[in-house]
Structure formats: C-alpha cells, structure tokens
C-alpha cells in the first residue's frame, strides 16, 4: 500500500471575485523514505496542497474534494478532531518563516515540550529531556541552555533548526517542508539542506519539499512535481526533470536560471508574460498564453485542457505537443541553448 496518495485533489476558494481554483485535480504518490519536490511559481498552488494534506484548510471556506490517503486512512472526509490527532504525530510541517511560525512569548523548549506532550503522556521533565535531545540532534550548540531561550534570541538558521526539531519531536512519518530555506542565507541554507537529508535518512520519513528554487529541489528530491496554475504539468524522477524535461514550462524554468556550474551564457531565456491569476485561469492549457510552442498545437492550446500522459517509465507530461515533437524541440532547440 502506498504511504501517501492524492487522488484528484481539488481545493477551491469561493471569493467575491469568483472561484479561485488553487489546486485543480492533483494526484501523486509518495513512499516512506522518499523525497518529493514540488516546484512552481507563486500562486501555482503548491502551499495550498501541503496545507490541505495537513487538514489546515478544514473548517474554513475552502471547498475540498478528491482523496488524500495517508497510510490507509482517508483524510478529506475525516473529522477535524481526527486529523488534528494525526498532526504533529503522523505528519508535521516545517514552515518558511520560523520567526512567525513560533510563538514569541514562549521559550523554544516550551513549544517543543507542548507539541511532544500532546501526543505522548509523559511528565514534563521527560519531555524537556526529549526537547534537549532533539535540539542537540539538529545541531544547536549547548542545547541544555538553549532550550530555555526565546525565539528572538536565536539567529535565523538556529530558529529554522529549532523548528525542524519541533516538527521531528514526535517522530512523524510524513514531513512537509514549505520553502524551508528561502528566508536563509546560502551558507546557512546549505547547512539546513544537509541536516534535512541526514535526518530523513535517520527517521525514514516521507518528505515533501516545496520550493521555487530548482537548485534546492535537485539537491534533495527523488521525484519532482512541477505545478502551474493549480495543476501538475510535469512529474518524474529528478533525472527526468533535469535531463529530459518535456514540458515547455519546465524548459522555461531551466532557461530562466543563471547557473554557477556552467559557462556564463550571453542571455537568459525567460518565459514571456507572468503567472496566471487563479480566478481567471486561461482556457485550454493554462500555460498557452506564455508558451512559445503554442502555435504548433494547431489551436488546441487555447481550447482543450491537455491530459497528464505518461511518456516513459513514470514520467508524466501535460502538453498538447506529441512526444516526438517535445523530444525533438528539447534536443535541437532548447538543450543546446542552455548548454552553450
């Protein structure tokens, strides 16, 4: 049985201006010990996906449909209380900004102890010892003293470590990290990425890492899911996405990034236009107004929503171009420009 499975998840928000389809039919699977990277620009629905897995949109205005199976349990129809009992224990989240995700009035230790004691019936002393262990584990120096510090006394990197310690304190089986390093400097980012890799190995958790940074994804992920306008437009192994990408949007992302490991290119190859508004998603393929290859679809781009089709061995692409066309364009038009 698959550990985490999403089937046709839809998260829609009714607003005064219309229905915002933040996530519109998303399916994927994830096993224990594996890492899935979800990549997309702002407003592509990546954070909404993670919040709905954790059940944090329950009871709000969101209209959620589809299925989320976690270790044999369905979460979309489960009660709020039940999902709450799973949160922290079975699944946990690392947020982007550790300063706003932690309570400024309580010490870091108290916050970890609280999370631990909700799920484990232990005296406070035992929980505190556990908190110190966890802080030490994530590389905070002198954890027995730092456990009594307040979040503002920590630096950005230390706060992120403390939040990871909190998320891991109940030994979750699913860990979701939403832009875990975006707020950090590069040298600290490298430390945190190393830490997450090591911890995942130790805890054998399933990890979902959500980011806009393809570099971070390449460092950590086994599989990668590229989102655009609330839909998955390409899914595959890290090698598939970086070596044999088949969706024009993925090509665009790769062409937009200057890279330190290659020669300096004369010009970047950006995607024209800007990401769509989710109230007014373009008809047909959501990417067609920005796609350089839309004319080659013979008008289908603006009228028909393409299906997510397997092209080879678990590599899925949502595009009207035929497999041969895509491979030909990648090999002759895109790849040479990226590597020139």
């Amino acid at each position: 049985m698959t550990f985490l499975q999403l089937n046709d998840l839809k998260v829609h928000f009714p607003t005064d201006d219309g229905l915002v389809k933040s996530v519109d039919g998303l399916s994927f699977q994830l096993e224990r010990g594996k890492t899935l990277g979800i990549v997309g620009e702002s407003g592509s629905g990546k954070s909404v996906t993670s919040l709905s897995i954790l059940g944090l949109h329950k009871g709000g205005r969101a209209k959620i449909s589809g299925e989320i199976w976690l270790d044999g349990e369905e979460l979309v129809t489960a009660s709020q209380e039940h999902v709450r009992s799973l949160r922290g224990k079975k699944m946990a989240m690392i947020f982007q900004d550790p300063l706003s995700a932690m309570h400024p009035y309580y010490t870091v230790g108290d916050q970890i102890i609280e999370a631990y004691r909700i799920h484990n019936d232990v005296p406070k002393k035992v929980a505190k010892k556990h908190a110190i262990d966890m802080l030490g584990r994530v590389g905070i120096p002198q954890p027995d003293r730092r456990v009594d510090s307040y979040p503002h006394e920590f630096s950005g990197g230390m706060r992120q470590r403390a939040m990871i310690a909190m998320a891991l304190s109940c030994d979750p089986e699913l860990l979701i990290a939403d832009e875990p390093t975006t707020a950090l400097d590069v040298t600290v980012q490298a430390q945190i990425l190393d830490l997450m890799r090591d911890l995942q190995r130790d805890f054998n958790a399933a990890l979902i890492i959500i980011t806009h940074d393809l570099g971070v994804v390449a460092e950590l992920s086994d599989d990668i899911l590229v989102m655009y306008g609330g839909k998955c437009i390409e899914y595959g192994s890290a090698d598939d996405i970086f070596e044999r990408p088949e969706h024009p949007y993925t090509w665009g992302l790769l062409g937009s990034m200057p890279r330190l490991d290659r020669e300096v290119t004369e010009r970047l190859l950006p995607i024209k236009g800007s990401p769509p508004s989710l109230i007014n998603v373009p008809s047909g393929c959501a990417f067609h107004p920005r796609c350089a290859f839309e004319p080659r679809t013979g008008g289908k781009g603006s009228t028909l929503v393409p299906d997510l089709v397997e092209t080879e061995g678990g590599h899925l692409v949502r595009c009207h171009l035929s497999r041969e066309e895509r491979r030909d364009i990648w090999a002759t038009e895109i790849k040479p420009k990226l590597e020139s």
Partner: protein
C-alpha cells in the same frame, strides 16, 4: 581602461547604539567598516554577501540616502561625501537607485504616470513634448504598455511593478544606477525577464551599474567585476572570470560551494565546504580577520592581525593571510602592508 565614474575610499558607516535616558552611546554597529572600490564607466560591479554584511548600507551610502560616518565618495570628480542636499540634487539626476521590493517602493495612491513623471517635476525638467509623452516613451522602453499611464500600482504583477520602478529610475537618463536586490522578490521566470531588461538597457543607454545581491549566480550573470563583502569589509574583489574561476578567499569559496546546483547528478561527489555557525553580529565583530571564527584555515595570525586587501593577481585583490589559488606563494602569509 575606461574612466572611473564612482570612487569610494575607506567608506564607513557606524550606527550608534544608545542606552538610557540620556542616550549615551554604548557601542556601534559597524555596518560598513572601511571599504574602498572604484566603478568604471559602462561596467557592472556586483556586490555580494550574506544578510548583515553591509551591502545594502553601502548602496544607500553611495546614493547618500544615509550619511557616512567616515571615508570619501567621489562621483564624476565631485566629492559628494558630505555634500548638502541642495547641491546634491542636480547630481541625483545622474545617480539613481532601483529598490528590492516593488510592492513597497511604489506609492499605491499615485498613478504610474505620476510615479514615473515625479523625477521630472522634482528636478524641474521640461521635456519637448510634455512630461506625459516622455513618460510613455520610457514605459515603452522598459516593456510596458504606454496606455498604462493612468493605472495604479496594484493593477500590476510583481514583474511589471519592478519595470515601473526601473522606468522611474531611467526617467532622467542617469549615468550610474545602484540596484539593490533588483530581482530577489520576483518569481524565477520573471527574474530572467528583468535581468535581460537590465542588460539591454545598459547596452542601449550606456549605463553603469552597481548591483547589490545575495544570489551568486545572478551576480555572476550580470557583473563584469564582483566584490564579496563579509561583516562590513570587502574580502575579495576581482573580475568575474577570475573571482568565480579561481576564488582566493576561503569565504568566497565557501559561498560558492554552498549554492545548490540544479543538477541531480552532481548531488554526490561534489567537494563541498560547509561553514559552521552563523555570521557573527556586526555589533561585536571578531577582531583582526573577521572571518577567522568560521574559517577552516585560520591560524594564530588571523586572530591578531587584520589581513590587508592585497592585489595578488592583476585586478584581483583579496584580504586573507592564507589565500587559495594565489599565483605564487600559496600557503604562506600574504605580504602585510
């Protein structure tokens, strides 16, 4: 070599830390602590470093948005270090700034026309066919529709807003533009558009840029020369090929090795340098070489003697006692001036 447009000598900015009723000074945050560099006409100088290294303060000092506490800034032959605002104003035409956050740097109550036209009004400049025509021309230049003249900032996306900011910067045809993190608030695909736009404008209008950024790959892409800052000091400066090809300062090496590479095949086997700890507080920076607390090559001398910024290869200077990739005398202390 072309002429120098901006020259900075020993620039310092110490923010006082006060305490008590009488605000007696108990210390100083040495945000920028004696940096010197030149910017040549037509080039792009990149200024990189982690948060708190003083790169933004440097940008604001050069544009005189804040008052330096020491050193000298010369712009086109004028000493502008402590020039009065009234005398500085005409010079501001030639020196403009692009800000990081396109959401907070545009007044939400002003139309695009008012925002981009403001420089003309402030400077009292008459244009041939009126300000409106001039503004519309600039909007077109930065890739916006001239019909956007009467719209408000909230009607635009982040990338378009950044273009509006760039249009305002260009209104008076400046010679030098200081861009403080011009793309870091933008989505990846939009970043590339703005980077390309900045490059096109440089070629068309013969601009000189000082680009302040934390993203090493973006800086490498657009800069001719790069200066690396750490805790208020420049630790290494050189042309792009030299600095990225054979970085000499351990900190530069560490920074580059920390950048995640978007290639899963390089995940294993990369020879990484991992710094431990965080950047120390600029309130109380380590003595002598400020990097010695995190440096794996540090020895006794690094704790007692500050290494000077010495030119070890043509146009490539580094402040380190034990530089790497140095052309000669590797692993021996650099000459102490």
């Amino acid at each position: 070599m072309s002429e120098t447009i901006l020259s900075v000598q020993g620039l310092e900015k110490h923010f006082p830390v006060t305490k008590g009723l009488f605000k007696s000074q108990v210390g100083a945050v040495k945000a920028v602590d004696g940096i010197s560099f030149d910017v040549r006409k037509g080039e792009t100088l990149g200024l990189v470093g982690e948060s708190g290294c003083g790169k933004t303060t440097t940008g604001r000092l050069i544009t005189r948005l804040i008052e330096p506490t020491g050193g000298k800034i010369t712009f086109e032959g004028h000493d502008i270090t402590h020039m009065k605002q009234g005398r500085l104003r005409p010079l501001r035409r030639d020196m403009q700034m692009i800000f990081q956050d396109p959401y907070s740097s545009l007044n939400p109550r002003h139309t695009v026309g008012a925002i981009v036209g403001a420089p003309y009004r402030i400077q009292g400049i008459q244009t041939e066919q009126g300000i409106k025509k001039a503004v519309q021309d600039i909007l077109e230049l930065v890739g916006l529709n001239p019909e956007h003249y009467n719209r408000y900032p909230h009607e635009f996306s982040g990338g378009q807003r950044q273009r509006i900011g760039i249009a305002r910067t260009l209104a008076l045809k400046p010679k030098l533009i200081i861009a403080d993190e011009p793309v870091s608030a933008l989505d990846v695909s939009i970043q590339a558009q703005v980077v390309n736009l900045l490059e096109d404008l440089q070629n068309e209008l013969d601009l000189t840029y000082v680009v302040i950024a934390h993203d090493l790959s973006v800086v490498r892409h657009i800069s001719d020369r790069v200066a690396v800052m750490y805790l208020g000091k420049i630790v290494e400066v050189g042309d792009r090929a030299g600095l990225y090809g054979s970085p000499m300062h351990p900190y530069t090496n560490a920074l580059m090795s920390a950048v995640p590479i978007p290639d899963p095949k390089q995940r294993e086997g990369r020879d990484r340098i991992r710094l431990t700890g965080d950047v120390p507080s600029p309130l109380n920076p380590p003595p002598a070489c400020r990097f010695h607390t995190r440096c794996w090559k540090a020895q006794e001398i690094c704790k007692t003697q500050e290494p000077p910024l010495a030119e070890l290869a043509p146009g490539h200077a580094v402040a380190c006692h034990f530089p790497e990739n140095a052309p000669s005398k590797t692993e021996t202390p650099a000459t102490v001036a």
